[in-house]
Amino acid sequence: MLDPVFLAQTILNGLSVGCIYGLIGIGFCVIYNASGIVNFAQGAFVMMGGMITHVLMQQHLPLIPSALLAIIVVALAGVVIERIVVRPLWDRKATMFVMILATLAAQIVIERLTLMLVGDQPKSIAVFTDLPPIKLAGVAIGYQTLWIMGTSLVLIAALGLFFQKTLVGRAMRACAINREAAALQGIVVSRMLAMSFALSAALGAIAGILVTPTQFTAFNVGTPFAISGFIAAIVGGFGRPFGAFLGGLLLGLAQALAVFGLGSGLKNMAALSVLLIFLFLRPSGILGSAK
């Protein structure tokens, strides 16, 4: 029979991982809004975030500096990808398809490099706060869950301020609305491209660092995360960062319920099915498309 405590636990876990998907989805939107590019290497940032933090902590660096360093390194990696893969294609006016293929290839290259450097064994990070979970009416709320949800909410608020108040954030929004007009206003669109890659990579890295203690990380975890983030972005109406976060929560929930009802082997299948359902029936997402 249906166990309400177990169900509540499932929902909580779903929302928690949904926050992660949402952050990755926002990463997709940030780049898409600045450039119209869908960066299929997004998953690599997530994997790198967790992996670099793990490696640094192996060197006995504490969590916080490890994480910060990892975020900076991944943001730089985002800029590097933008410089050596995306920018040359952008300058040559490559088609959308070529851009997708190139970023997908970049993802594979990063994956394989990681495999060479750290091997194929799954790695993990210790939970941030090593205390027994809080029990609330039988539901166990782990501290990592609180970390994930808390950090996500802080990030969402910070992004909101960034897009509303700062010059760079506003310029990014202007690019999203109309790139030509933004360029006429003196916004250097190509600089926005680099910055959007840095921002999006940093978001991916944070997501990766947050999620790694609850699961594990390995060289090949990027693609499933990228797919989930993309689904979040689509469900939220592509190009709407906050819609993407909402989409992530919904996806996390749907996935958790599918696992709850049908078994854990179907986790990826559930996500992919959500993707196809939205693509076929409502490609503009639940809130409608941004454009």
């Binding site: 869908v38 299929f40 893969v85 040359p88 294609l89 040559r92 490559a94 088609t95 959308m96 398809f97 070529v98 997708i100 293929l101 190139a102 997908l104 290839a105 970049a106 594979i108 290259v109 994956e111 394989r112 490099l113 060479m116 693609t223 797919i227 993309f230 689509i234 082997g265 179907l266 990826n268 299948m269 992919l272 099915s273 993707l275 196809l276 693509l279 076929f280 490609p283």
Partner: protein, 323 residues
């Protein structure tokens, strides 16, 4: 016209343009004569040439996007594996059954999916490839999960098995030649023109009376048949199938071959498959880093030589504007 200086000038260039093809054919011929270790390498390249030739119809000619062609290779591969290894069917029957299955699946998948455009189409097809991979992993009773299925018999016709590696390679060479010949005939036909037309402008194609949706779907089904055939051949040559053989890496490898050989050209798939297939043999040290090298090569080609090798001999970069 025939005597104009431009034509005379163009002729040596055209001849030069056939060099990559001559090289690819020479490699295959050498492998057949040599009969040694290179047979395995070239056989693998020929199988991929079939897969890429199908991809070329849907992407090179019709200008569409599919990141999920591995799904159809999986259908062919698993159909052949299960029917021959478990139920004792002859290989040819398994191949035909796989292709029939691929046609049905391509129709069912294509109808909703091909209505999508841009990155939605890219992600939709990618999802289909991943779903089939997941099925291959999870449907243990049929696919044996990660462990895969072994004991698949070699190719043969009727009760006559192609025992020697050399005989198998000759068979593969014939199948590949027939596949390329078929794509060439398609490209020269009314159907092929409609494909290239809709890749240029869907609106103009519709205004001229071409049923764009139907034409795309047919192209998708044909390329699925090629993929399924390649999947079947692969499992018979290797004697084994596992989900890893039909995963995302298959798609990336195929795209690398397609772009190296020259997307939209008839012989490009063969050239690309042979060149990329030989790469790890020429540079022995590369073996462990295959995917790394393929990915890097793909990025470099996309940026610096989007027309591939087949386009190098041309006077003008004709197909560059294609996609």
């Amino acid at each position: 016209m025939a005597t104009s200086p431009a034509t005379i000038l163009r002729n040596p260039r055209q001849w030069l343009g056939q060099l990559p093809l001559a090289f690819a054919v020479a490699v295959v011929a050498y492998a057949i004569i040599d009969g040694g270790y290179i047979v395995t390498v070239v056989g693998f390249a020929l199988i991929y040439a079939v897969f890429v030739a199908g991809l070329n119809i849907f992407m090179g000619y019709a200008g569409q996007t599919s990141f999920g062609q591995n799904a159809f290779a999986a259908i062919g591969g698993y159909a052949s594996a299960v029917l021959t290894a478990t139920y004792g069917w002859p290989p040819l029957a398994g191949i035909v059954a796989g292709m029939a299955g691929a046609v049905v699946c391509a129709l069912l998948i294509g109808m909703p999916t091909l209505r999508l455009k841009g990155h939605y189409l890219a992600m939709g097809t990618l999802a289909i490839g991943l779903i089939v991979y997941e099925i291959a992993v999870e449907w243990q009773s049929v696919t044996n999960g990660y462990m895969g299925i072994s004991g698949i018999p070699p190719l043969g016709i009727g009760s006559w098995e192609l025992e020697s590696d050399r005989a198998q390679l000759i068979f593969l060479a014939i199948v590949t030649a027939l596949s390329l010949w078929a794509t060439w005939r398609l490209r020269q036909s009314r159907f092929g023109r409609a494909l290239v037309a809709l890749s240029g402008s869907e609106d103009a194609a519709r205004a001229l009376g071409i049923n764009v949706g139907r034409t795309k779907l047919i192209a998708f089904v044909i390329s699925a048949m090629f993929a399924s055939l390649a999947g079947s051949l692969l499992v018979h040559i290797v004697g084994f199938i596992s989900p890893e053989m039909i995963g995302m890496n298959m798609v990336i490898l195929a795209f690398t071959m397609l772009y190296v050989g020259g997307i939209g050209t008839t012989t490009g798939p063969l050239i690309g498959a042979v060149v990329i297939g030989l790469l790890p043999e020429v540079f022995r040290g590369l073996k462990d880093y295959q995917d790394l090298v393929y990915g890097t090569a793909l990025i470099l080609i996309l940026i610096y030589a989007p027309g591939g090798i087949a386009s190098l001999g041309r006077l003008a970069p004709k197909r560059r504007a294609a996609r």
